[in-house]
């Protein structure tokens, strides 16, 4: 009776299922130990997908991300430690896979550059403040001071009597 199946409803039903089937999720990667499942989720969130570079391995829908999730999953099931898995990925894809770059010679500017910039900025700021303080001592002669007081007094009076 296969001929009696109407194609349109079938197609519509298929369209409902299709989007669900296309998306990768983390649900297929579960461990007996819920702590391990959590560890897997955390680790893949700390790793960066090389294809969609602003997404984590956990979130990315790229095929490569799925392959790497499988790889990480298998390694975890084989009892590999977090460090071993990270070393495995860094050996192949470089430090780029880490959201948290390691401190080493090539990343010194990244880690210490801002501190140096803040230091240089602080130095100039302190110097500018010191200079301002010195300049605060105005060299007014006694006559100028009297005149200044007078001027201030008159403007003060005017303000007091607005009417």
């Amino acid at each position: 009776m296969i001929r009696h199946i109407r194609p349109i409803p079938l197609l519509l039903a298929g369209m409902l299922v299709l989007p669900l089937a296309q998306a990768y999720t983390l649900e297929q990667f579960s461990f007996k130990d819920p702590e391990k499942t959590e560890e897997f989720r955390k680790l893949t969130e700390e790793l960066r997908c090389l294809v969609c570079q602003n997404e984590s391995l956990a979130a990315s829908q790229a095929d490569l991300a799925q392959d790497l999730r499988k790889e990480v999953y298998q390694m975890m099931r084989a009892g590999k430690s977090r460090d071993e898995i990270i070393r495995f990925l860094v050996a192949r894809y470089g430090d780029f896979v880490l959201y948290d770059p390691p401190v080493k010679l090539s990343t010194y500017p990244l880690w210490f550059g801002p501190l140096i910039l803040a230091g240089v900025g602080g130095f100039f700021l302190l110097r500018a403040i010191k200079k301002k303080k010195q300049a605060q001592d105005p060299d007014l002669s006694p006559e100028e001071r009297d005149r200044l007081a007078q001027l201030l007094a008159t403007t003060g009076n005017q303000q007091k009597t607005p009417k």
Binding site: V51, R92, Y93, D95
Partner: protein, 179 residues
């Protein structure tokens, strides 16, 4: 600090910043440098594309300067690159070993029939597992491997005439000159 310095210093800092940002404009963040350069090519043993009974491995890289080209029929840029690979193999006599990545065997064979085969051999990496070992993240990618099986350079994205003339050819000539 003199008065002119007070104006020139921020201007100079701004100038440096502009230069840095300008430089950044021409950097492609999708080119991730491979940690494999200067290291032995990762170990692999795979069936050949044309004949599953034939095995292709690191032994096929020993003794000759080769390009290892990662490609697939679903990869649009590979199609663009293919003409250049044909030219390299035919005109310049470059030895190209193919790594057919996550592809359909029949599709790949048909591709080579239709567009020509620039490869001395093709390894068939159906699940992309060898691709992971080589740090492949987007086809086409091409590795330059020296006589001792050490990776010397990685080209990410298609090889075109410019890449060949400016980068690959000089590197290959240098490696070939070494005895």
């Amino acid at each position: 600090m003199s008065k002119s310095m007070r104006f020139l210093t921020p201007l100079a800092i701004f100038g440096v910043l502009v230069l840095l940002l300008f430089y950044g404009l021409y950097q492609d963040p999708h080119l991730v440098p491979s940690p494999l350069i200067g290291r032995p090519a990762p170990k692999f043993t795979l069936p050949a594309l044309e004949d599953p009974k034939v095995t292709i491995s690191n032994a096929d890289l020993k003794g000759k300067v080769s390009l290892v080209n990662v490609w697939a029929t679903w990869c649009v840029s590979c199609r663009a690159e293919h003409k250049e690979l044909m030219r390299l193999a035919k005109v310049d006599g470059v030895r190209i070993l193919g790594l057919n990545y996550k592809d359909d065997r029949e599709d790949a064979k048909r591709w080579l029939q239709i567009y020509g085969n620039p490869y001395v051999a093709n390894a068939f990496d159906a699940d992309g597992r060898v691709g992971i070992d080589w740090g492949v993240y987007g086809t086409p990618e091409t590795f330059l491997v020296d006589r001792n099986g050490i990776i010397r350079y990685k080209q990410i994205g298609p090889i075109d005439q410019q890449v060949w003339e400016k980068t690959l050819r000089p590197l290959i000539d240098k490696l070939k000159a070494k005895t």
